[in-house]
């Protein structure tokens, strides 16, 4: 048993950390999130150049030989800076394509890894409330009708990978956003990401996979997305925690640093516990991703997502509370930590969904 990262992984982490420190400081981030695009021109190309876009993909699939661990640690460091690029969507897209396989797909993956293509998954629907398994979009003879929601990176994407109901089974289609019948509504989520709702009216798509193959690809890719999301949540929690700690040491009230008040100390201890539990369960999950058991992996996924969601909301809201009034302002980063954690808590399913999914997985295990 070994929880230490390899030196390759450590230098990957350093490279993301340096980017966040240099290119994504707080003032720069404000310029970016208030811009029309919500992301900075050129940043995605840097991601590609530094190798992050293929770091979490096996060599066989066209990546640089890493996996869930690499994605989790990239996401963790991006989380520290609240970077708004659609990295989670990229992880899901590449893992979807990798699971599907084949020549066409290899080209798409190559484009994604090089940062030359922008393809994002459109799996979720408004009716699903975060459950990617609820699909009402219909496919009939490669023609799609339905609505996809909260498409991360949907504002900058050229193509979507759309899940659809095809008779009794599921299919995955590649859809060009320029195709006739595609209506895209771009909006901001609370965490200042630009996302899209996409309406498909008799839209022609290219079939990528269908039946059990499509289901398996979706499941596997969403699991990879959740791993990265849990990594990101950890980065945000850890940053909110220590930022709050630093504030408590300097902020004075009633003649003393407020960090001397026992009730606040104990709250901070609870925030630390939640953060450390999120870290621990992510380690457990990274182990489970490498082992082979489907149910053990599903249980670990839902366990980690549950803790990232509930622990994230706790740490984020208490970071605000301990900051007092200034914590509620737009100009202080602490309110943005909460906003991101709030969105993460619902992305790919909330606590309720994952507690039920965990229970189902464990039923099959014991």
């Amino acid at each position: 048993m070994d929880f230490a990262y390899t030196s390759e992984q450590e230098s990957l982490r350093d490279s993301v950390k340096r980017f966040v420190e240099r290119e994504f400081d707080w003032e720069e981030r404000f310029r970016i999130i208030r811009s029309t695009e919500g992301v900075a021109a050129g940043h995605w190309a840097i991601f590609a150049e530094l190798g992050w876009l293929g770091a979490g993909l096996s060599e066989a699939a066209g990546g640089f030989g890493g996996g869930a661990i690499e994605n989790a640690l990239i996401a963790e460091e991006l989380g520290r800076g609240l970077v708004t690029e659609p990295f989670i969507a990229h992880v899901v897209a590449t893992q979807l394509l990798a699971a599907i396989g084949g020549d066409v797909v290899a080209d798409l993956i190559a484009g994604l890894v090089m940062g030359e293509k922008r393809i994002v998954p459109a799996l979720q629907e408004p009716v699903g409330r975060g459950d990617w398994r609820l699909i009402e979009t219909k496919a009939e003879g490669h023609v799609l009708n339905g609505v996809k929601s909260l498409v991360e990176g949907g504002a900058t994407a050229e193509q979507l990978i759309v899940s659809a109901q095809d008779g009794d089974s599921t299919s995955l289609y590649l859809v060009d956003l320029q195709t006739a019948g595609v209506t895209r509504t771009i909006y901001r989520t609370l965490d200042n990401r630009r996302v899209a709702d996409v309406r498909l009216d008799n839209v022609s798509g290219t079939l990528l996979a269908s039946g059990p193959e499509a289901d398996a690809a979706i499941n596997r890719a969403v699991e990879h997305g959740i791993v990265a999301l849990c990594g990101e949540a950890l980065g945000v929690m850890d940053t909110a925690l220590w930022t709050t700690r630093d504030y408590l040491k300097v902020r004075k009230q009633f003649g003393t640093a407020i960090g001397n008040f026992q009730a606040l100390q104990h709250r901070m201890a609870d925030m630390l516990i939640e953060t450390e539990m999120a870290r621990s369960i992510l380690f457990h999950l990274l182990g489970a991703m490498a082992d082979g058991d489907d149910d053990a992996r599903a249980a670990a996924i839902s366990a980690a997502k549950t803790q990232a969601s509930s622990g994230g909301i706790f740490v984020g809201s208490q970071a605000i509370q301990l900051h007092g009034g200034i914590g509620v302002t737009e100009e202080l980063n602490i309110s943005h930590h909460y906003r991101r954690l709030y969105v993460i808590a619902r992305q790919f399913g909330d606590v309720e969904l994952h507690l039920a999914r965990f229970a189902e997985s464990v039923d099959r295990l014991v």
Binding site: R34, T36, Q124, P126, V127, G128, R129, G130, L134, S149, L150, T185, I186, Y187, R188, T189, L190, N192, R194, D197, K252, Q253, F254, F261, A263, L264, S317, I320, Q321, G324, G325, G327, V328, T329, E330, E331, S335, Y338, R339, Y342, V343, R346, D350, E352
Partner: protein
């Protein structure tokens, strides 16, 4: 002990409801549905209608135009106003400043300021907090130096709620640095249009505008604008803050939020059925409703109890009430599903921090829900953070 509301109280509620139904302009009720901070013109308009009926200042003594209602009647009135989504009055002026004025101010000051509050003409701000002072008001540093028949005021005030609507500000200033901190504080009434005052909006987590910063650069204030005695400002402030705590249980507002949440849950689907039928959701909603029921009775107990009990119950209901407001806002946003994660700008635009040029996917009934969930993080902080309230409960009620 007898049954809950008396026949007289039930009749009073019916009377209020009938009046609101016939007199509240529909466009104001519609605006109130979205639960944005009301627009000043809407507030003034409604307050004038209430003033004609003699109902615009429920808490005031009859000598100053109050209706002479019992505490329970005032509660019922507020309950009905919230139920109908009527705009609130300028609450700072009506509920916080006015009681200080009719209790401590001179007769001239009362005559000058109270009628304009009662009729919705003058809006007030409250200038207590300063950068660095937070919940510890006694450390405030804004100075007022006597110069003939004026005070010259310099300093900075922050967290000034609805200050962008204010005509006047009720200010705590330091008039004496030689005595112990609390004893050197005085209360001044300052016209916000005076030269030397600059306002900066403080945008909050909801990208909305509720609080402001005010900078005072040698602002000249006539000495006649001093409230009561110099150096007694601290006691007026405590008087005012105690009222703020009682109000901040905000049970009628929470009840209105619950009604809104129920309406959302009847529309939004989950697994092919209305969300309101989902067992997990039902249990969480029920728990919020139960806690609100308990809190409502606690508030009514406080309103009917001997006044000596008021302060301690105030801390108690403030803690529970502020947490409930967060819980109901969070659950309402959750009920919206994916739509609850979308930023939805105020269509009226008054509070728009910046224009992102985007279109919201949120249906009319969901407008303002996400912003409210965000902004409600403040309820456990303002009016004396809940940590302060818990210490207060321990010291005053539990005598620890």
């Amino acid at each position: 002990m007898q049954s809950f509301y008396s026949e007289e109280e039930k009749a009073f509620r019916a009377e209020v409801r009938a009046f609101v139904e016939t007199h509240l302009p529909p466009e104001l009720a519609q605006q109130g549905l979205h639960d944005y901070h009301p627009r000043r013109e809407d507030q003034s308009r409604w307050v004038r209608i209430l003033a004609q009926k003699g109902w615009s200042v429920p808490h005031w003594p009859t000598a100053y135009g109050g209706p002479g209602w019992s505490g329970v009647q005032r509660f019922i009135f507020e309950d009905e106003m919230r139920r109908a989504h009527a705009p609130t009055a300028d609450r700072i002026g009506t509920e916080l400043v006015a009681p200080v004025l009719y209790t401590f101010a001179s007769e001239e000051q009362r005559q000058k300021y109270l009628p304009a509050i009662r009729n919705g003409d003058t809006f007030w701000a409250q200038g207590f907090s300063e950068p660095g002072s937070g919940s510890d008001l006694s450390s405030l540093r804004t100075r007022a130096v006597r110069d003939g028949d004026h005070y010259v005021v310099s300093g900075q005030k922050t967290w000034t709620t609805e200050g962008h609507h204010g005509d006047m500000i009720f200010m705590l200033v330091r008039t004496n640095s030689e005595v112990k901190p609390q004893a050197g504080i005085s209360a001044l009434l300052i016209d916000l249009n005076s030269p030397g005052i600059t306002r900066r909006p403080i945008w909050t987590i909801d990208e909305g505008l509720t609080v402001n910063e005010f900078f005072f650069d040698e602002v000249r204030v006539p000495t006649e604008n001093l409230v009561g005695e110099e150096g007694a400002g601290w006691s007026y402030a405590k008087f005012l803050l105690n009222n703020e705590r009682t109000n901040s249980a905000e049970v009628p507002h929470t009840k209105r939020d619950i009604a809104q949440l129920r309406a959302i849950a009847q529309i939004e689907p989950k697994n092919g059925r209305p969300l309101i039928e989902d067992a997990g959701f039902r249990a969480r909603l029920a728990r919020i409703e139960i806690d609100t029921m308990a809190l409502e009775t606690a508030v009514l107990r406080a309103l009917t109890a001997d006044s000596h009990d008021g302060g301690s119950v105030a801390s108690l209901v403030k803690v529970r009430g502020s947490e409930l407001r967060q819980r109901v806002a969070d659950l309402a946003d959750e009920a919206l599903g994916d739509r609850g994660l979308a930023i939805c700008l105020n269509p009226e635009g008054e509070h728009r921090m910046f224009d992102d040029g985007l279109t919201s996917p949120v249906a009319d009934y969901g407008i303002g829900i996400a912003a409210k969930a965000m902004f409600r993080r403040a309820t456990t902080i303002y009016g004396g953070a809940n940590e302060i309230q818990r210490t207060l409960i321990a010291k005053t009620v539990l005598e620890l």
